[in-house]
C-alpha cells in the first residue's frame, strides 16, 4: 500500500510540465509558427549545443566565465564577511562604512561596468573586480546583521563557562553566524554569475556573455539558445551543490 502511494507521489506533474514545454517548443518551431530565426527547433539547438561542446568553444567560454565569477565571488564574499564582522564589532568602522553600504546596496552595480573597464581593461580583471564589488554589499549586510543578533544567552553562557573575548568571537559569535552567512552566500552566487555574464555582454573580452552577444549580432540563434540552456544548467547545478553543502554542514541550524 505504501509503495504505491510513493510512486503516485513521484513528481510526474512536474516532469509532464517540462516534457510538454519541450514538445510545444519543437512543434511550434517546426510548424513555423515563428520564423526559424526567432525560434529554432529544440532539436537544432541540441545539435548546435553538441557541436559547441565537441569543438571546445563552449568549454573555453564556460571555463573563462566561471573562473571569473568564482574569483570575484571569493574576493567579494571574503571581504564582505570580514567587513561585516568588523562593522559589527568596531563602532568606528560601522560609522565609516554605513553610508557607503547604504548607497551601494540598492544601486545597480552594472552601471559601474564602464568605470571598471576604464580602470582595468576589458579582460578578466575588470570582470572579477566588478563581481566582487557586486557581491560584497549583500554579504556585508547579512554578516553584520547576523553578528549583531547573536543571542545574549549564548554570550552569557559562554562567559560563565570560561570564555575570554577571543574565544567568544571564534567559538560563539562566528559559528552562530554561519547559517546566515551561508544564506547570503547563496544569494551572492547568482549575483556573481549574472554580473559576469552581463559584463561580458557589455564589454566583451571573451566568455559566455561575449559569445552570446556575438551570436545575437550575427543572428546565429541556435547558439544563442544553446548558450542560454547551458547557463540555466550551470545555475541549477550550483544551486543543487549549495543545497547539498547546507544540508550536511549546516544540518544543526534550526528553522
Amino acid at each position: 500500500m505504501r509503495r504505491r502511494n510513493r510512486l503516485s507521489q513521484a513528481p510526474w506533474r512536474s516532469i509532464a510540465s517540462i516534457i510538454f514545454l519541450l514538445l510545444a517548443w519543437e512543434t511550434a518551431a517546426r510548424a513555423h509558427l515563428a520564423p526559424p530565426l526567432f525560434l529554432p527547433p529544440f532539436s537544432v539547438v541540441s545539435v548546435q549545443l553538441w557541436q559547441s561542446i565537441a569543438d571546445g568553444t563552449l568549454a573555453i567560454d564556460l571555463a573563462l566565465s566561471l573562473a571569473r565569477a568564482f574569483c570575484g565571488l571569493a574576493l567579494g564574499v571574503t571581504a564582505g564577511i570580514l567587513l561585516g564582522l568588523l562593522m559589527a564589532r568596531v563602532r568606528v568602522v560601522e560609522w565609516l562604512l554605513d553610508p557607503l553600504v547604504a548607497l551601494g546596496f540598492p544601486s545597480p552595480k552594472i552601471a559601474f561596468i564602464p568605470i571598471f573597464v576604464l580602470w582595468f581593461g576589458i579582460e578578466s580583471l575588470s570582470k572579477i573586480l566588478l563581481v566582487a564589488f557586486a557581491c560584497i554589499f549583500p554579504v556585508i549586510i547579512g554578516t553584520y546583521s547576523a553578528a549583531r543578533s547573536v543571542s545574549r544567552l549564548f554570550l552569557w553562557s559562554a562567559m560563565s563557562l570560561g570564555s575570554n573575548r577571543k574565544s567568544m568571537f571564534l567559538h560563539v559569535i562566528l559559528p552562530a553566524c554561519y547559517p546566515r552567512i551561508f544564506t547570503t552566500f547563496r544569494i551572492a552566487v547568482p549575483v556573481g554569475l549574472i554580473t559576469t555574464f552581463t559584463a561580458e555582454m557589455v564589454a566583451g573580452g571573451g566568455g559566455m556573455g561575449a559569445t552570446l552577444i556575438y551570436s545575437q549580432r550575427f543572428f546565429e540563434s541556435p547558439t544563442v539558445f544553446a548558450y542560454i540552456v547551458v547557463m540555466l544548467c550551470v545555475g541549477l547545478l550550483l544551486d543543487f551543490a549549495m543545497l547539498r553543502f547546507q544540508s550536511h554542514y549546516l544540518r544543526w541550524a534550526e528553522g
Binding site: 543571542s151 544567552l153 560563565s160 544540518r251
Partner: protein
C-alpha cells in the same frame, strides 16, 4: 561562616521606551553554603534581573559578594542554566557539555571522563552525537544542566529552568535536579514562578515584591526530601507551606496588577 552569596542594597534601573524603569531597589539577600534558595514573585518583579546581576551579566548599584569577593563579571564559579535557547546549536551534545572544559584547557582524557560521567548522570547515553535541534525540551535542559555542572561551579544560578517544559517533564526534571543537589550539595539560587516547584526543591523561599523588587518575605522549608514525590506533595506539611507562600505571592501579584492598571 561567611555566606556564599551576599547581596547588599542592590538597585537596578534600566532605560525603556517609556522612561527609566526601576527593576530592583535596595534588595538584600544572603545565601549560605549548600543552601537551595528559590526566589518567587509576580511576573516582571525583577527576580531574573537579580539572578543576572549575581551572575555578573548585568551591572548594578550596590554590592554583590561571592565568597567575600566582589562580583565584577561572569565567572566559572557561578554556573548558569537559562530557560531555553542557550545550548550552542552548532555543537553536539558531547561538545556542548565539554565546552567549558575545553576553554579551561582540561586534558582530553580528563575531559572525556567528565563528559562521560555527566552523560550518565543526566541519562542521555547514546545521544552524544546529536545536535540540540534533534532533542526534546527536557533533553535540552538536561544537556544545559550537564554543561554547567562540567565546570564544577560552587554555585548554580537557575533562571526558570523548567518553565518551557510541559507539566510532566517538569516534574521529572525537578526530581533530577533534587537528586543532583542532594549528591553534590552545591549552593543553588533558583528563580521560578511555580510556587509548588519552589516548595518542592528549596530549603528557603524568598518572595519578591512587585516592581521595584525587594525581598518581602522569607519562608524556611524543612521537609524530608528523601520521601517520594507522591507522599511529599500530598502531605499536610507540604501543603501548609505551599499555601502560605502562594498567598504571599498572590498578594504581590495583585499589587503588580494594580500598578499596571494605574500606569496605563
Amino acid at each position: 561562616m561567611r555566606p556564599r552569596i551576599e547581596i547588599r542594597r542592590v538597585s537596578k534601573t534600566y532605560a525603556s521606551d517609556h522612561g527609566p524603569v526601576v527593576a530592583l531597589r535596595d534588595t538584600d539577600l544572603e545565601v549560605k553554603q549548600g543552601e537551595f534558595v528559590s526566589i518567587v514573585g509576580p511576573s516582571g518583579c525583577g527576580k531574573s534581573t537579580l539572578l543576572y546581576i549575581v551572575g555578573g551579566f548585568l551591572a548594578a548599584e550596590g554590592d554583590v559578594f561571592v565568597d567575600g569577593v566582589r562580583v565584577t563579571g561572569p565567572g566559572t564559579d557561578r554556573g548558569v542554566v537559562f530557560q531555553e535557547y542557550a545550548l550552542f546549536p552548532w555543537l553536539t551534545v558531547h561538545d556542548n557539555i565539554g565546552y567549558g572544559l575545553e576553554r579551561q584547557n582540561v586534558s582530553p582524557t580528563e575531559r572525556e571522563k567528565i563528559i562521560g560521567g555527566l552523560i550518565d548522570v543526566i541519562g542521555l547515553a547514546g545521544f552524544e552525537k546529536r545536535y540540540p535541534r534533534e532533542l526534546s525540551g527536557g533533553m535540552k535542559q538536561r544537556v544545559a544542566i550537564a554543561r554547567t555542572l562540567a565546570c564544577d561551579p560552587a554555585i548554580l544560578l537557575l533562571d526558570e529552568p523548567f518553565g518551557a517544559l510541559d507539566a510532566q517533564t517538569r516534574e521529572i526534571m525537578q526530581d533530577e535536579l533534587l537528586r543532583i543537589w542532594l549528591e553534590t550539595r552545591k549552593t543553588v539560587l533558583l528563580v521560578t514562578h511555580d510556587v509548588t516547584e519552589a516548595v518542592y526543591l528549596s530549603n528557603r523561599i524568598c518572595v519578591m515584591s512587585a516592581r521595584p523588587g525587594q525581598i518581602i518575605e522569607q519562608f524556611t522549608v524543612e521537609l524530608d526530601r528523601t520521601r517520594p514525590r507522591e507522599e511529599l506533595v500530598l502531605s499536610a506539611a507540604f501543603n501548609e507551606i505551599r499555601n502560605q507562600v502562594w498567598l504571599s505571592v498572590r498578594r504581590q501579584a495583585i499589587a503588580a496588577g494594580r500598578q499596571n492598571a494605574n500606569a496605563s
